[in-house]
Each structure stands twice: as C-alpha cells, then as structure tokens.
C-alpha cells in the first residue's frame, strides 16, 4: 500500500513538472471548416518563430462563446458575430472584438442519384424547393429543366442536412434566405435551424457519409469535403444567370464583387454575390481577435501571425481547396491589424 502511494506521488510530481517551456502558448478555438489551413499555418509559424498557437476546431458558435468568456485568447467563425454578440463581448470584456477574414470557402450541393454521373445544375428555386420539401422527386421539372439530357429517376428525394450547429449551415441558410422569400419566412438563417424535412448528419463528415450510403439523397457540405471524398457535387445558378461549379476562381470572384461594399469591420455576407462567374454560395471565414490584449507577448505574436497569414500564408491556401483573399481585402486588413492593442 505504502509502495503504491509512493509510486503515485512520484508520478504526480513528474506530471506536474514543467517541460522546458520557453515558448509562448496561445489558445484559440472555433470553426471546423478552416481547421486544415489553420493547422498548417500555426505549424509553420511555430517552426519559424517558436510561438505555440493551439487551435481547437470546436465549432463557430463555441469559438464565439469561448472568446467572449475569455477562456481562449482568440476565436474563429464562419458566420460573423451579430450585433448582440458583439455588444455582449464588449460588456464582458470592456473592449471590442475584431473580425479578420483569413480565407474563402464554398458550400456545395452534393448528391447521390443512381445512374447520374455528371454534375447536375441547380437553380436557386430548385434548391429552396427541395429543402423546403416542396419538390419531392428527382425528375421534378424544376430540376429537370436545368438538366436537359440527364436521365433523372422519379424517386423521392432524401434531404440530408447538418444536425450540429455549424457555420456551414449558416452559409447555406444565408444563401437560401436571400434567394427564397419563403425560406426566409419559414426557416430563416442560422447555425441551427428548424429544418422542414430531412435527416441530420453530424459534421461535414456525417453528411458526406450519409449521402454516400443513401441513394437519392442530397445535402450540402464544404467544398473540401466533397472534393476529398470524391462525392459528386452540382453547379448552382448565380445572380448573373450562369451555372457555376464551385472552384477557387469562382469563389475569389464572389469575394471581389463584395470588396467594394466591404464594411470597416469586415463582417459581410458574400452569398449570391454579383459577378459573371461568381460562385453564389461562398463565404469568408474570420478570426476573432480581441481589441485589447492583456498580455503584450501574446498580442505581438498574434499581430505578427495575422500579418503573415494574410500575405505569405495565402500561398498554402489553394492546395487545401481554400480560395485566397482578394488583394483589396488584404490591404484593408493590414491597416486594421494596428487596431489590436
């Protein structure tokens, strides 16, 4: 018994020992969507500077909450904080919170229709109708008219959406709210909504998994998941009337269109953006940085990181299926970084 106790004490002490930690540790949490590129960035930054930035992909909402509570040093989100949340942050922390866009991503409609191997075209009306439950079969004219020549079966459509609250859902519902008055009234936009019909999958992975397993299904996922898992995804008709299949160029074009009206705080929705070849379901993803840092070491490290990420870091974006920030946005951000005190 005594021997056991002695052993335990030694192990506890060992566990408590501080590993040689000269480097700074900064904690952040937020959106899952940009996790691959963030993990790459933080890793490279660590190799170059020794600063340890620990980012945990726990979800956009969690990121907003935790940075507001002060349990993490910065947050990340796919859906910008609304005014109430920003006010809540200010009340709790005595200073403001800043949004910094980092990369661009796209949400695509994926499907599993037996016999269909090509990319289907979807009009905004078709998408809204399907997810509202009004369009029930694959060979419905709303879908068939945009896909002449494709043999669509008369099977019932199985709708698949996200069960967990997520930025991806926010982007998707934001788009549907813009293109469909009915959707806006009945369901509206948010990270979690009251879906009129469909099954829920957990995470992008869950949705992709369900789609692969379920014939006649349709769902929405981040572009990178569709690409990596080789699930077919369709083109969406944008506001200029072109059917665009999501890719880096079309996403960047969507962002450029929005640059002219970019607000000072960078909170902007670029769904259904103008532009001939703009992909209509695109979005920025933001880092949430406190205006005031108590720890100057952390502050300087974060500013250095931001500077690097929106300039040099952009080079790694495309390999990982993210679109780069348009130059005008980068310039604006570089100036905005000085607001971090």
């Amino acid at each position: 018994m005594k021997r056991l106790a002695g052993m335990l004490l030694v192990v506890l002490a060992l566990g408590g020992m501080v590993w040689a930690q000269n480097a700074l540790l900064i904690n952040g949490a937020g959106a899952t969507f940009p996790n691959p590129i963030y993990s790459k960035w933080f890793d490279e930054f660590h190799k170059a500077n020794g600063t340890q930035i620990n980012y945990q992909p726990v979800g956009s909402g969690a990121g907003i909450k935790q940075v507001t509570e002060g349990t993490v040093d910065f947050g990340a989100t796919d859906g910008p904080m609304n005014d109430d949340q920003i006010k809540a942050y200010r009340t709790k922390n005595g200073a403001g919170i800043l949004h910094f866009p980092t990369v661009l991503g796209a949400v695509v409609p994926t499907y599993n229709v037996p016999g269909v191997n090509t990319a289907l075209n979807f009009t905004p009306e078709a998408l809204a109708g399907i997810f509202l439950g009004r369009i029930e079969r694959w060979n419905d004219p709303a879908i068939a008219n945009a896909n002449k020549g494709v043999n669509l079966p008369g099977n019932d459509i199985v709708v698949i959406h996200r069960s967990d609250g997520s930025g991806t859902t926010y982007i998707w519902t934001d788009y549907l709210s813009k293109v469909s008055g009915d959707w806006k009234d009945k369901v509206s936009k948010g990270t979690s909504v009251n879906w009129p019909k469909g099954l829920g999958g957990k995470g992008n992975e869950g949705v992709t998994g369900l789609i692969k397993q379920t014939p006649n299904s349709i769902g929405y996922v981040e572009l990178i998941y569709a690409a990596q898992n080789k699930v077919p995804y369709g083109s969406v008709k944008n506001s200029a009337g072109t059917f665009v299949k999501a890719d880096l160029a079309s996403v960047t074009e969507a962002a450029s269109g929005a640059v002219k009206t970019m607000p000072e705080d960078f909170r902007v929705s670029i769904t259904n953006a103008p532009g001939k070849n703009a992909y209509p379901i695109s979005s920025f993803t933001w880092l949430l940085i406190p205006e005031k840092f108590k720890d100057t070491g952390k502050r300087d490290a974060m500013k250095k990181f931001l500077n690097w990420a929106i300039t040099d870091g952009q080079g790694s974006a495309e390999n990982l299926s993210y679109a780069k920030l348009p130059k005008e946005v980068v310039d604006k951000e570089l100036k905005a970084i000085n607001r971090v005190q």
Binding site: G61, D164, G165, T191, S192, G198, K202, G206, Q213
Partner: protein
C-alpha cells in the same frame, strides 16, 4: 443493510456527548465519519449538478412551463422549444438496446461463469472488459460504415417482409433510425452486463449450487432457479448501469439515429435523443433561450433517469423473495 455496530448507545445527552468524544478517539468512529463524508460527497455532487441544471434552465421553464414536455416543435430561430420527440427517442432507443442486450448479456454471463472452463472464461472476460474502453466515437463510425448499410440492405427489408404487418417495421428503410441506434447502443452496453453479471455469479457461494444439485435439479435448474436469483441484485445493478449508459450516450447515437425530431411508431424511422441534440447544438447555440432550452433537456433526462430508476427499484422490491441472499433496494 449494514452489519450492526458494536458500540452501545448511551442514555442521557450529557453522557451522549461524552461518549461521542470517546467514540471519536475510537478509530472505528473516525472511519465511519470519513467514509460517510465520501458517501455524502456523491450526493453533494449529484445535487450540485441538479442545481446547476435548474438554474441554467430558468428561462425556458418560465416561458414554456409544463408544455415543454408535450410540445414537438424545436425551432431555435423562432425560439419555440418542445422536448417530446427527444424524450420519445431516448426511451425507444434505450428500450431496444436493453431488449437486445439483456438476454444476450445475461446468457453470455451465465455461460462464462457457470459453464466455461476458467482458462476460457478469464481471457474472454479480459477482451470484453476492453471493449468498454472503445470510445463512443468509434462505435459511431462503426455504426455509420457497417451497421447502417447492413440495416438498409439486409436487415430492414428482411424484417419488413416477415414482420411488416406490425407498425413497428413499416416505413421507408433509410438505414438510420431508432432501430439502428438501439443496436449500436446494445453493442455498447453488453460488456457492462456481461462483466458485472459474471462477477456476481462467480461470487455466489459454491454450496448454493451444490445444494440444488444434491436435491436433484438439473444443471440448468440449479443455475436459473438458485444461482441467478441469489445474484439477482447484482445483475439488476448491471442492468441499471447499462440503462444509464444507453440513456446518456451521445456520440454513437447521433451518428446513426438520423437526428430528426420525429415521433413515429416505426422503428425504422429516423429520430433524435436528448443527449444527441445537446451534443449537436450546445457548442453552437446562439441565444440564451436556445442554450437554456438545451440545459432544460438535460434536466429532463435527469428526471427520466430518476423515474426509470424508481420504477425499476419498485419492481425489484416486489419480486425479491425473502431470504434469498442479498435482498435490498
């Protein structure tokens, strides 16, 4: 039922306090106090949890009151919340899980404890114990990639063809749903039932078995009519453990249940459970009402467990035979 203490209580209060002090010097009384504190901590933690849940759910409780239990709408945007589909899903999946796991588990435990030679029984038990450590995420993935296709392609159609006249087995077969979640849960809780039941059966004194056999019963009769009842409370305990796990399981369920708040008589229908919706929506819940509604769901689950436990205990109380070894609530 605790074994009686040796200390003799004194008569008057003054003598009582004096004897309390002397009791304190007695090592046994200190031991009693310390172990009492530990036991009290358990109650304290549970109460603390309930208090936290109660406070956290104040908003929706005031707004919805009792209707929270019987409404089916779950709309975070319109801020309308009702718990009924989640309660239904939780109960149904746990029910299916126990329906499958209890007979299998007890049967297996009997085999391992009574029939299998020790050389087989011990290593097998080792492996079974190990499976309790498999993270629920893994069970979820296994459910997603193995159970769901199996259900959709073979099991559900087969059940429809043979037992399709029952409302239980009607409706489109997606693969996900109550039944699938129940099966995954059953797999997850079987190790608990087997492990604990086996240990309890092993601890039944040898003379009980031998007495039964000496009186001319068959092997099965001595097992089922003598040994198992002797171990009844322990086995019930293992079923409680299994039930608790099934009610509260999060990750695995959310990956195979379909995550749709529906109430349906068909086991093939997709559904939702309390733990699953909390896991899915908590970290992203925008708005205090949404968050608090999720916390209230946690409170509801607590209540459910409370009631189910009470019912089960009542059942045990009514069926415990006098004088059959360990009979206590």
């Amino acid at each position: 039922m605790a074994t009686s203490s040796i200390n003799v209580p004194s008569a008057s209060p003054v003598a009582g306090s004096r004897s309390f002090l002397s009791k304190l010097r007695n090592g046994d009384e200190i031991a009693r106090l310390i172990t009492f504190l530990f036991a009290a901590t358990v109650v304290l933690i549970t109460v603390g949890l309930v208090v936290e849940l109660w406070i956290g759910s104040a908003l929706p409780r005031h707004k919805f009151g009792f209707s929270f239990f019987v409404t089916s709408v779950w709309d975070p945007i319109a801020e309308q919340f009702g718990a009924l589909p989640f309660i239904y899903g939780t109960l149904v999946t746990a029910g299916v899980a126990l329906f499958l796991a209890v007979p299998l588990g007890i049967g297996a435990a009997i085999f391992l404890a009574e029939l299998a030679p020790q050389k087989l029984s011990d290593p097998l038990q080792f492996f079974i114990d190990l499976l309790a450590a498999v993270p629920s995420v893994i069970y979820g993935l296994l459910g997603l990639f193995i159970v769901i296709p199996m259900m959709r392609q073979w099991i559900q159609p087969a059940l429809k063809n043979t037992l399709g006249f029952l409302p239980l087995f009607q409706g489109p077969a997606y693969g996900v749903g109550f039944f699938t979640a129940g099966i995954v849960l059953a797999i997850m809780v079987i190790p608990y039932i087997i492990s604990v039941s086996r240990e309890v059966l092993l601890s039944v004194p040898r003379d009980q078995r031998e007495a039964a056999l000496a009186l001319g019963s068959t092997r099965w009769e001595s097992t089922w009519k003598v040994v198992v009842p002797f171990a009844k409370t322990g086995i019930m305990g293992s079923i409680f453990l299994a039930l608790a796990r099934a009610l509260g399981e999060t990750m695995a369920v959310t990956m195979v249940i379909g995550n749709t708040p529906t109430i349906s008589s068909s086991l093939f229908s997709p559904g939702y459970s309390i733990a699953a919706v909390i896991a899915n929506e908590f970290t992203e819940a925008t708005g205090d009402m949404h968050l608090s509604a999720l916390i209230e769901l946690g409170l509801v689950l607590f209540l459910l467990t409370f009631i189910l436990n009470g019912l089960a205990r009542l059942l045990m109380l009514l069926t415990t035979q006098r004088g059959s070894g360990m009979g206590h609530a």
